[in-house]
Symmetry: D2
């Protein structure tokens, strides 16, 4: 029997009360976390097993959970629209993201997709990501460090329209306002048969991007959208939830092919 590792000083912990009320804290002696349901002594977390109960000063029960990468990501500092796990996961599954791959990304934003990809290609793979807006790059850099994935990422703070300086990439990720402008750069960066995945909030973007991909040496171009529906499963009263996020983004996929010799 493996004994599970215990919570160490400075570990990130997800204090979980309910699906909507949960917070990422650090286990730190002599610090308190204040909720509307009383205070939690963060020093008390040290030495607990992950999954253990803690009590607030008002007697409320919370759970000390190990944050998943997605918990860390969704609680990140951000300046851009969040990327949802439905979209992150589909990008991973559809492109075949996995250990050892080289990934290029244009449009780092807050670094959410960057972190997600870095986690899947580590430790032998690498993500080269480009963000033209220095203030976003700074946020992304902090987020990547905070989730412990900075060493698997190289972040270029510049426009990538003129070229990327990486070749032989397995996967290219694209999340910018005018994605069609990046087709030549990403086509040059990808190895033959490499996969491109783009995140496009509007229908106009997918229309123009798909045109450019078809003209720019890509095949197997596919555009999709994922809808996530929550279910309320309760004995004798099961039904879909009444509210949902109706749209996050369209996703466009394509594979690079080689010009005939």
């Amino acid at each position: 029997v493996t004994s599970d590792p215990l919570i160490q000083e400075n570990d990130s912990v997800l204090l979980y009360l309910s699906p909507r009320k949960n917070w990422i804290v650090r286990a730190r002696a002599s610090q308190e976390f204040h909720t509307h349901l009383g205070r939690v002594q963060l020093g008390n977390l040290v030495g607990l097993a992950y999954g253990a109960q803690v009590h607030s000063t008002t007697g409320e029960v919370l759970w000390a959970l190990r944050p998943s990468l997605y918990d860390l990501i969704r609680k990140s500092e951000r300046r851009t629209q969040v990327l949802y796990p439905k979209d992150l996961g589909f990008v991973a599954a559809r492109t075949g993201l996995g250990p050892g791959q080289i990934v290029v990304e244009v449009g780092t934003g807050s670094g959410v997709l960057t972190a997600f990809a870095a986690n899947l290609v580590r430790p032998t793979g690498h993500v080269y990501t480009f963000e033209a807006r220095p203030e976003f790059a700074e946020v992304a850099r902090r987020n990547l460090e905070r989730v412990g994935l900075g060493e698997y990422v190289t972040l270029g703070v510049r426009d990538a329209i003129g070229g990327i300086g990486v070749t032989g990439a397995d996967v290219a990720l694209l999340d910018v306002g005018a994605p069609w402008e990046l087709v030549p750069s990403l086509g040059a960066a990808l190895k033959g048969s490499g996969m491109l995945a783009a995140i496009c909030p509007t229908m106009n973007q997918i229309e123009r991007l798909v045109e450019s991909l078809g003209a720019g040496g890509f095949v197997d171009v596919e555009s999709v959208e994922l809808l996530l529906r929550s279910m309320e499963a309760r004995t004798g009263m099961t039904r879909p939830s009444t509210r949902m996020h109706a749209h996050t983004a369209y996703l466009v996929f394509a594979r690079k092919v080689l010009a005939s010799a």
Copy 2:
């Protein structure tokens, strides 16, 4: 400049003609592949770069693509309902599947989710999977070997209701007809704060499973469904596709917590 690896004798190649017409073949001297559009000499693939064009005997152009894990999976031999990348990817993103993790799975089926998980936890992680029906286990074993992931998987051909014999797992996956029966076994296998993900085709399954999870030491129980919608992006005529898979399965997630001391 890295030169991309070329296609080797015996490599799997995705011969791509269109989204609906593509096939996985082996690059092998003196073998032919027959399509309704003429024959392709499979020996000619050897030495090509991935992404190169090949021609059939009738002059049709096909592309020699490197199959992604998902291509390999969707072309697998199977005896069970297929798992779609939308569901595979969401399970990965929501549970935080990644390098080095220990995964337990009950209900191997054809091994699709098994292979997907094994690819993400390798090389240092491992998947322990259980399939009670020997004929399914045999299919899964062949599929795992074919995609080169067998070494990261231990397949037990037995019922797991009485217990699993693994502890400290990070993630538990569940795809059986009566998932509520496995809650005690998977609760025992998971480490504190470990994540469970179950695949349930019917409403009745999620209702009973959610009841059992609530009573069995799990919190943060969530049920969702993902809908994948294809878009037809064409200049001046962009619209959703007229047909879609309207339902594959509901997905249920939960986190194991520890009984209070």
Copy 3:
């Protein structure tokens, strides 16, 4: 050229500012309507054409629109969950509601579906509706009078499980918590080949209702759900809205057949 009728004293008017900010008022001399954007003199509406501009005391432009039946309904007093036009309209189209028909309804609620049906069968048809809770029946009665459809409706304030006392109905509508209990009553009320439509928020309800219909002399049993998605159509930035009502209710349809002689 027909000249459009002008707004008369006491007419209902939809004061329209935006999709979310619009109100039903009465055109009445010496009354004011207060909004956060200033006051509107309701007497000034009298004599205007429908569709005309009015100004608030702060100079804001509003439109004096003729309320549709749906505007009147959605602004009604209500004690029950609202019925959406997507569901109302589908019930009408699928059952073939139209002039001259006899409709029976069990579960009047606030009278929304009652009013919608009464408007379509008038002036020669009639709706017989039953509501067991007197306080709801009272709300429904007020709503029906307010929209001017009371004369086409007979409202019975009683349980209908034991029978309805109407026969030969073309269409039966059902919106109660245990719809399966009403199958015999509605089967007796419908003429041969008559259509039943039921509104069921949960999956458990449709499961039990469909069982009862199959056993109770109905064929062509169909269960569906409608999802309404709003689109934000803006030049160069068209996309679905980010929020939607993800679930209102399932709709079940069936046709009564006759026992073989």
Copy 4:
């Protein structure tokens, strides 16, 4: 007790075997209807009650149902894309279609929406519809006669871009390839506060139409899409159906307002 009318010679009957196998026939002495499950003597239908059983020559049970307007419409001759009851019904509910209204329609197509609207505005209302392609107009005319609604419809076989010659309409319906071209004509035909509803298969159409409506004297412009999901309700195995129509058309609604005096 009202006795239901019996099937008369020449009546249309829906011979119902299953959701996918059902046919509209005429009750006619000495005619036979051939199915893959034997023949049905159509003369035997005369004198039966609607809802009665009939038997084929091989002993198969079918039901003699009264066709709803929608049954008649969906079995119509047509040259254009079908309109689904979800869209027809929503147009009716959202625009407030009802007895006595004047409706103008551009783009009659096969007359499906025309017939649906005519049924709801009769007997005192009227539909003025325009179809520029004579061969479609001919199909529509036959369909309208066949469902008995011809007297409530005036069909103009001409382009309506230059104007319609009708004024004071309550509702305008639009189903053409370039709907934005019709905004001035329909604006002139509608009374103040009248409702416009347009059916648009593509994203590009709604984008251009919404622009034109905003510039052309309309407010309360809304674009939506309806998704119809079938449910398989079976005891202990309830789930959504696996296939669905993922897209029929977007619907755009707007209200005409008057220029300020």
